[in-house]
Symmetry: C2
Subunit: 198 residues, 2 copies
């Protein structure tokens, strides 16, 4: 569960680095992340990062530590499956935002899209996905396919060695125990919010 | 908290309607949503929807009930703030996916984008956003602005009568008590997953 909070800590440490701040207290980290300072001290201690009492944490050391834990000290190649509206959007977004994770492969089944570039990457035939993903050793995938194709896509990715999936298809998908699936259902998020607008 | 699960129930009831299923048990609802049948019965009872013991729920009646609770029985106009890569993507996605929530206004501060169409909607000057949102009575907004502009944007939306915000800016934003903010931080989601790919 701590893992879920580490990206927030990493983001704040990035901000602090840009602001040339060298030392940060758990209180200040709490102010910037919205988590309690106690929670933060506990989380960081869990990963062997201890601050100096009454002083705080060394920003540079702590940032490097979290970066390494998250595996962000090297660039992680990512496969994007589905180059429809949302997929294309995510590809463009990734090109501009992400430094640590890079969409390197895009797959689709639509003949009109295959071989064309999206965000500078040539779309490949989804029927060759299993082989290509296995051969290149890609471990992370973004799934932006229609609901009906989601489970089949995740099954194939899992068989091909993928360990983490960010799923945007609005459906529940199952995966083997060794594969982590995180779902982002934009439609559900908006429907929950609609309740507060009545 | 029940509100968070209602969109899942609604999605399953939509599926069942398309499959011409008239009666559904809480067990089958559980299988399709991933929630326990006990949880589902409790949630639905909370909103006054009771199934027939040993038979189940009437799909059509239950679907209408949840649609009404979520406020999806009328189309909700939505303002999108920020027409960069992510904002444009969300606009195109919304045009193709959403039936109950419709992006009707798009705002940006970039002079090169203002007055141009995005997904069929003319982008308006963000400096006029407060007035326009208040005048039209828009209650929901999607925030896809850079981190630095997010808090200011949410403040202005809240002052203009917006009650629900879906925030994509990778930063914590505060809002008055009467405004619900749900944040989707795609970068953090991917960073959490990176951990499992090391």
């Amino acid at each position: 569960m701590t893992i879920k909070r580490l990206p927030s800590y990493f983001r704040v440490l990035d901000e602090l680095t840009k602001e040339d701040v060298e030392i940060v207290s758990s209180t200040e980290m709490g102010r910037r992340t919205g988590f309690s300072s106690e929670q933060i001290r506990k989380d960081l201690a869990y990963f062997g990062a201890f601050g100096t009492r009454g002083v705080g944490y060394n920003v540079s050391v702590l940032r490097r530590r979290i970066r390494s834990i998250l595996g962000l000290d090297r660039t992680l190649p990512v496969a994007l499956v589905g180059a429809g509206n949302l997929g294309r959007a995510l590809a463009h977004y990734n090109r501009n935002q992400q430094q640590h994770m890079r969409i390197t492969h895009i797959f689709d089944i639509n003949e009109e899209i295959i071989d064309r570039p999206v965000a500078g990457i040539q779309v490949q035939d989804a029927r060759e996905m299993g082989r290509i993903v296995a051969d290149t050793g890609i471990k992370m995938a973004i799934v932006a396919v229609p609901r009906e194709a989601a489970q089949k896509t995740v099954d194939l990715l899992a068989q091909s060695g993928v360990k983490a999936v960010l799923n945007f298809a609005p459906v529940r998908v199952d995966a083997p125990e060794e594969v982590v699936v995180k779902s982002v259902d934009l439609t559900s998020e908006m429907q929950s919010l609609a309740y507060y607008c009545r």
